[in-house]
Symmetry: C2
Subunit: 653 residues, 2 copies
């Protein structure tokens, strides 16, 4: 199939070998990049690290007044997109906003319970934060509010410090403190452009963590679903199941189970319908509200609460009270609030940024991660002063928002308005809502966080990622949210360390009838060149791997020498290192190269470099290494190097 | 100069473009590596990570009895090299051993003071550990014993826990405990083949750390050199200088200063002589012992100790007493000893391994780092039971050992023998040795740890390394040894993280009259291909950088599109990603590629891959990504890709 091209290459390689004898050193030279100013170099690195997305590019060459307007619009994007806002867009946003509102109200009440807070705090957190986000955020699809995982994390962390039943006021204060610092963390990360730090939680780790959190949350709902009164405070599966079975004899309430299970079935069927028919996406979106209405009505009529069915009882009417005076700015809880806040803030960010990126890529618009963090952080800081706990982007509601046809963050404003009306007018109606319904709503919501398909794909693609995924999953399920997180981050870091300490190397061979050299393991028909060993190093040479690389290359040499001896073939006389993938080298790397050179000299093998990149060339010059090996032993391509070395060899074995 | 070869290439590229129209898809195919068994794959990774040096290769295909002998020799290399030992080798070892013994005895006494221990403990540590090492170690040049940096580290860390003047017995016990755990740490790292962990202290960090420690140690010697009685316990330069100047008026002793300074001058001159004439290397090696003898004699005659010249006073006679019962195996000091031991053990390892590697590379023999660690660890464990504190390889004495012509570790046995005789016979003679002499010996020993040339070279080669170097240096000098170490390790890690989060990317252009594509910044004459953007990604695509890479590529596209628009040139229709340096991709990376593909589809740009490696090809298949972009859009080389894409383009702007 590839005959013609390779034939043609054949001609070249024949003709080139014919010419070799006449014109040896006439090969293309390796480019030495123009010397850079030191300050410029540092500025370049800093820019690429922290301002990779060049956030100020629009400000260039603009008059000062325009710069001010641009700056204002950068902080409040609503004033940019708002100018092109139209009625047709509002139609989409209105419908989407109403849909997510109907979904968020029952979820909010449930999530507040997960965070051990009175139900109204969930609603509060769906009122103020979405408003702030709508002004400052740049994602068009994200739906802001409390989410299951963060609620669980916050609840379990704060509960370790203060008992929510014995000391609810202090508990609430610590929650606001944590929320405040979660916001501060987010703003700080965004402002100092450290957003890339959240990239250290890999996709695989997130899949595992989310799955584990979903299982944990679902297990927690057994309390509400089975009507158990005495329930463990731990979140690991063993304690929870122990609690459940201990209560089996006289702790379960059959009326509760009946209500809970039937509505759970209803919710799951609704989900199933939407999965089968994408057009019916609104069915599971409004199913929770319908469940709440029906079950509340049912309990009110039958007075099932007198038969042991637990109900919400009381939700405070009215909008968010101020809470700025409740935040701990001193005392022992300051440090605790800070620690919990940092953790919750990071997790909330991870979730929000993942959602933002997904939908931005689906609609193909750019999202400035760092600006998003500032928006999310500001919204949580303001939230902490208005009785909200940590809010972020919700997976399930954002998906519904997207599918309902939202165009802009106005859908969040609409949702916020609906929540406002709810708080002002209809909270008393929730009195008879059975807790079991909230439990079923949470279960049906978190179930979609368990992404088995993703886990299978991860297994197929990368076994190490799968270990991280399972580590996070089992860590969360069998121990706690923090442990799961710790495991996930540790495994992710281990992977990075492995990558930088044990980079790959490959022996290259020449593809028949081409001038192309490739890994002989990948291309079995690639042939080694007699007397020459060609090694490709697949990583920057840094202190963390310089010794390994040196020793690995020497080992390739020894292995090859043994093999050649056995077959009485000519011994290795040149070692060509293909440097294309070596993007950088540091002082330890230069040292290792010098040691390698010394070892090779002792064995009478000549070191040859092929295609070092700009940075490497620069450093070889700075360290005078190019003089040690000789300028004429650095080539543009492996082919050039081989063509120059081959005729110089003495091919007797 | 490179005319002929490039002319010839020109012919190819012309002929190939001529042929393009007839035979387009006939290009070499990308190799798909043979499917590997999962277990095999994992075993391969584990082997490469932990057994990169294949320590069991000699054991292959050997009868069982031979295996046993080999195993025994592997643990005790002396039984391997001892069989070829000869008288001529012993001559070299004897001279080297005597030379390092004369150097080590005064140093040992001084270093023991640095660790706040009575002087004999320095000698003890030069008796037992070198013996053990001689049997188990595989370096031929290293000289074992107490060293300045570890003594300082141990002294300052243990002093934080127990006051050595108020509670010398407990202090000593904690020292043995720390030594024991230092040994355990070293054996563990070696046994579990985690030796690569010490590679995380980069060369630059070590240079800075050693320099800082040397300055700190020299400053500490001002106490002895100036005869100051009240001296700070802190090691930072500010506290020390404060102490020195506070004592200036009536705390300095002019007799001490006179003795100390004149011998310091003598020692430095001796060093200078050796530097000028390599043959006289033995002058600075025996100068310390001569100084000790002369000054002791001088003080004894003049009874200068009655005029405020501090003297050693008492060194206990006799060899090491057993100390196994003194180690804390329980109680609060167990944990403290453990922590200090781990730290001191790691630092000691770093020094020993660096020395071992340097000399191994100079004499071209292989050193198994992990086996070395086991040897060093065992020697410290045994040492901790025989009244020694942490011993390791000394830079200065190993260099003297090497230059005196040592052949094997027998020189350590000779030295050990001399120390034994010293302990048994002549310790009382040290009674009148002035402390000032010990101070000058230590100063002249540590001064060579300050490697300004290395620092300058680091500055020239890698600015980031220089920051790490200076961070470690100033951290040690202005704060403490631990802080300096922490700074060095943190900066080293930051560098690794930077590398994995912000990999380089480059735009490639075709070198004129070749089929080679190179970075247009390095090769200014490389020309972009109209309508095609060729980007090379210089790193594995992992979760830590997948988003950055995706966004960076999109930004290259946007920049290029703007530039083309301005010059009304044809728009980009193909994006070729040169994947040669991409050694691996994980699930996050695959996701990023999918998002990139989606974004490109929206812009009507086709994604093309060139030369993905074996692992990447494997994972593209596992994730079905190759089907998403189309198998026919993956090429062996950039040239193949360009040749296939170019004719398909519509080149109207």
């Amino acid at each position: 199939m590839s005959n013609r091209v390779t034939d043609e290459m054949d001609i070249v390689s024949v003709s080139s070998s014919r010419r070799n004898s006449e014109s040896l050193p006439h090969v293309h030279k390796v480019g030495i990049p123009p010397k850079q100013n030191l300050l410029k170099e540092i500025a370049g690195t800093v820019k690429e690290t922290f301002f990779a997305d060049d956030p100020l590019r629009h400000f260039k060459d603009q008059p000062r007044s325009r710069k001010f307007v641009l700056g204002f619009q950068a902080v409040f994007p609503i004033f940019e997109w708002g100018r092109h806002y139209s009625l047709s867009k509002f139609k989409g946003d209105l419908i989407a906003g109403l849909t997510i509102a109907s979904l968020c109200i029952p979820q909010d009440i449930g999530y507040a319970k997960l965070a051990n807070l009175p139900p109204q705090y969930g609603l509060y957190s769906s009122f103020v934060p979405p408003l702030i986000y709508a002004f400052m955020g740049s994602s068009r699809d994200i739906a802001i509010g409390p989410v299951a995982v963060v609620s669980l994390l916050l609840g379990s962390l704060i509960q370790n410090e203060i008992d929510p039943t014995k000391n609810p006021a202090e508990y609430l204060r610590l929650t606001f403190t944590a929320t405040f610092f979660a916001g501060i963390t987010q703003v700080t990360l965004g402002f100092f452009r450290l957003g890339f730090l959240i990239d250290f939680l890999s996709h695989a780790a997130i899949v595992g963590f989310m799955g584990g959190a979903a299982v944990t949350i679902a297990l927690q709902q057994l309390k509400g679903l089975l009507g158990i009164k005495k329930f463990t405070k731990k979140t690991d599966i063993i304690s929870v199941m122990h609690s459940v079975f201990k209560a089996a004899h006289h702790g379960w309430n059959w009326q509760t189970i009946l209500i809970g299970m039937s509505f759970l079935a209803f919710l799951l069927v609704a989900k199933y319908i939407a999965k089968k028919k994408k057009k019916l996406f609104w069915v599971p979106a409004i199913a929770p509200l319908i469940s709440v209405i029906l079950s509340t009505f049912f309990v009110y009529i039958t007075r099932a609460d007198k038969h042991g069915v637990q109900i919400v009882k009381h939700i405070r009417r009215g909008i968010n009270p101020a809470s700025v005076d409740q935040i701990f700015f001193s005392g022992e809880y300051l440090a605790k609030g800070f620690r919990i806040g940092v953790l919750a803030g990071m997790i909330a960010l991870t979730e929000a940024v993942a959602i933002g990126r997904t939908f931005a890529s689906m609609k193909d618009y750019q999202l400035d991660g760092n600006k998003e963090m500032v928006a999310l952080g500001t919204m949580n800081i303001v939230g902490s002063m208005t009785s909200c706990y940590v809010a972020t982007g919700s997976f399930s509601r954002s998906a519904v928002n997207y599918m309902s046809g939202c165009h802009t963050a106005v859908s969040n404003i609409v949702m916020s308005g609906v929540v406002l009306l709810t708080l002002e007018l209809i909270t008393p109606l929730f009195k008879y809502t059975p807790n079991a319904i909230l439990a079923s709503i949470i279960i049906s919501a978190v179930i979609s966080l368990i992404d088995i398909e993703a886990a299978i794909l991860i297994w197929k693609i990368d076994k190490f990622d799968f270990v991280a995924c399972m580590g996070a999953f089992f860590g969360v399920v069998f121990s706690s949210v923090e442990i799961g997180l710790l495991i996930a981050v540790s495994i992710s870091f281990a992977k990075i360390l492995l990558q930088v300490t044990r980079p790959r190397t490959a022996i290259l061979g020449k593809l028949p009838r081409t001038t192309v050299y490739r890994n002989i393991l990948q291309y079995p028909d690639a042939a080694k060149v007699p007397g020459i060993l060609i090694v490709r190093v697949d990583s920057a040479i840094y202190f963390s791997n310089s010794n390994y690389i040196k020793e690995r290359i020497l080992r390739w040499l020894v292995d090859e020498a043994e093999r050649l001896k056995e077959n009485s073939q000519p011994r290795i006389q040149f070692l060509i290192i293909e440097m294309s993938p070596v993007t950088d080298i540091d002082t330890s790397g230069i040292h290792a190269m010098e040691e390698l050179l010394r070892s090779l000299d002792k064995r009478d093998i000549k070191l040859v470099l092929a295609n070092p990149g700009p940075v490497v060339v620069d450093k070889l010059h700075a360290s005078k290494f190019h003089e040690m090996i000789g300028e004429d032993r650095i080539f543009l391509t492996v082919e050039d190097a081989v063509r120059t070395c081959a005729p110089k060899m003495d091919l007797e074995p």
